[in-house]
Amino acid sequence: MKLSAAMAAALLVASALPAAAQVSDNKVKIGILNDQSGVYADFGGKWSYEAAKMAVEDFGGKVLDMPIEVVTADHQNKPDIASNIARQWYDTGQVDAIMELTTSSVALAVQGLSKEKKKITLVTGAATTELTGKQCSPYGFHWAYDTNALAVGTGGALVKAGGDSWFFLTADYAFGYSLEAQTTKFLTSNGGKVVGSVRHPLSNADFSSFLLQAQSSGAKVIGLANAGLDTANAIKQASEFGIVAGGQRLAALLFTLAEVHGLGLEAAQGLSLTEGFYWDRDDASREFGKRFFARTKRMPNMIQAGTYSGVLHYLKAIAKAGADDTEKVAEAMRAMPVDDVFAKGGVVAKNGRMIHDMYLMEVKKPEESKQPWDYFKVLATVPGDQAYIKPSESGCPLAQ
């Protein structure tokens, strides 16, 4: 009885709430939601928040004469915490857009929620192509990279560079299989072949037997279809076995500048990987890298630079649309090309995918590195239209 009476009262109050929320709050608020204390703390982490703040400062701190605010939260890799914070930000925090969103489960959950609430999401930290595939959203954007782009970059481009026989070390779960399958597709279509593969359990500590199998297979390239700590462990142990020194090439399918920095050049030298950004690419990116370094004491990887680019593009879209209304801003974001330090001539497709060039890199030897963070040689540039799934083939209903 008590409950139902309270419910009735509650309903009255609740019916008054949304009306208040629709009143323009005279500011643009962006939330950066990612992992800042767990396994992905270096991948994007607090540095992405810093990159977002840089973008706001570079834009002038104001859009349409309204102040811009950036808030951040650590979702600890738990989708329920992320979803809770996202809802709270939208319902009571006057947040207009949520960005970064490291890890697939979190990104899909928040994008789904934002679709329902008609808010903009821009994902830089998660890899899954589902975001712009079946589960795409008219207000959801996927910015820095995805599993397909990584597979094309490392699989396709490396074959052209001579690495035509492969052996896979694959993490034994869906993510690993899809990386392996996608990479296999691109390397066979470029004339390469797979001589063998082995599956290792997730969070594996000892890769020696897998690496020995890979070594004795005689494959020119050993592909690491795994992520995070597994990739780092495999690389470390491969260097102990002298695999790269013995003439085989090691290719990591999901690895960035931040993780190479964590491993050190001694262990990581000779590794091939694909990223959407490298700070030492041209003058503009070097200038951006130096400014980022001055604030954070580290160089940006594609997640952090991508977050910078995403925030900037969002603000430009608000300026162009003349309002912070979600529909209009999303439309403006799709209409404008992306030209900044992160991407040159980037295009935002109908399914929300930002299509831009990817880079196949090789990690330098310690003696080749002339300054701190001088880690990569760019082996090849993969044009955006080859790197990403064609919007019409993505399975996204918006792009049909």
Binding site: A6, A14, D74, K78, P79, S104
Partner: protein, 326 residues
């Protein structure tokens, strides 16, 4: 004579009990207007989960290190049933609970043959097997999880997309779960569980079939944990690997320890502390994992009976509970 002496305190304690329940109900009714409703719903789900876990640890003395399998498993079953089969939410929750109970039957059947650390290790091992099953099975969508689960209409009538309707549903599920746990622990069945906890051999010598009682308690605890997980899947509209991982099994132990093992309210308080820390530290500069770790260390070093356990151990607490022993 003894009856005359005992009657008044018992009556008084009953009155106090009713007063406490009334306070709880009022809190439950007021909470969504003071705190963000989704957060309260999450808290209630974890509170029920911890209470279900406590049913096993606090009353039967069995430390399970695999309860995430029932919690997360039910979340997957419910999410799949509602999203793919198009069941209504209440049927979806039933599917989740039934699945968790069946899982509990299998795990419990194997685990109750051993005691103490071996029991904990067997539950952990079986839960990890279930985790890897969820990682690989097609219907769970690997690390993407089952996303976009519709909340649907309760009994085909009440639209659960309304925040307050959803809150009401969660509150009712929570209350029903708590009442069930209370009934179980206060029944002769619960007394027998306590006797097994205190002295298993003596219980056997009294002709009690210890194994069946343990298994029954295990299945009930699993089913209630499943109820919590199934409800959470509807609240957040997804089911992911986070809920079946061993970290979740650890988290529920932490909640129960922090709040107080073997008390009705303890796990609820513990769940509130942990979820509040996780949520409110997320937007602060303190790393949540470290702060929660410190809280756990403090609890083990300074107040081993947990927050509620220590409160009940004080003279004021004893009077409130209306009894001197226990």
């Amino acid at each position: 004579m003894t009856d005359v002496v005992l009657a008044p305190p018992a009556k008084r304690s009953k009155a106090r009990g009713i007063a406490l329940i009334a306070v709880g109900l009022v809190l439950l009714a007021v909470a969504p207007f003071v705190v963000y409703p989704i957060f309260v719903m999450k808290l209630l789900c974890f509170a029920l989960f911890a209470a279900a876990f406590n049913l096993l640890l606090g009353y039967a003395g069995l430390l399970s290190f695999g309860h995430a399998a029932f919690f997360g498993g039910a979340a997957y079953f419910t999410a799949h049933a509602v999203k793919e089969w198009g069941l209504t939410p209440e049927l979806g929750v039933l599917v989740g609970v039934a699945g968790a109970a069946a899982l509990g039957l299998v795990v419990g059947f194997l685990a109750i043959r051993r005691q103490g650390i071996y029991f904990a290790m067997i539950t952990l091992a079986l839960a990890q097997m279930f985790f890897f099953f969820c990682l690989q099975a097609r219907f769970t969508h690997g690390e993407d999880g089952i996303q976009g689960v519709p909340r649907g209409h309760l009994f085909g009538l009440i639209d659960l997309n309304q925040p307050l309707a959803m809150y009401g549903f969660v509150a009712v599920v929570f209350l029903a779960g708590m009442v069930a746990i209370h009934r179980i622990t206060e029944s002769p069945f619960g007394m027998i569980l306590k006797s097994i906890r205190e002295n298993e051999r003596r219980a056997t010598s009294l002709g009690i079939s210890v194994g069946s009682y343990k298994l029954a308690a295990f299945v009930m605890s699993a089913a209630l944990a499943g109820l919590a997980g199934a409800t959470k899947a509807l609240v957040f509209q997804f089911a992911t690997l986070t809920d079946v991982g061993w970290q979740m099994s650890g988290e529920v132990i932490l909640m129960t320890l922090l709040g107080g093992i073997g008390t009705m309210i303890g796990p609820v308080v513990g769940a509130a502390i942990v979820t509040a820390l996780e949520n409110y530290l997320a937007t602060s500069d303190f790393p949540p994992t470290i702060v929660i770790g410190l809280a756990f260390m403090l609890c083990v070093l300074a107040f081993r009976r947990g927050v509620v356990g220590e409160l009940l151990a004080t003279r004021w607490g004893k009077r409130l509970a209306g009894r001197s022993e226990d």
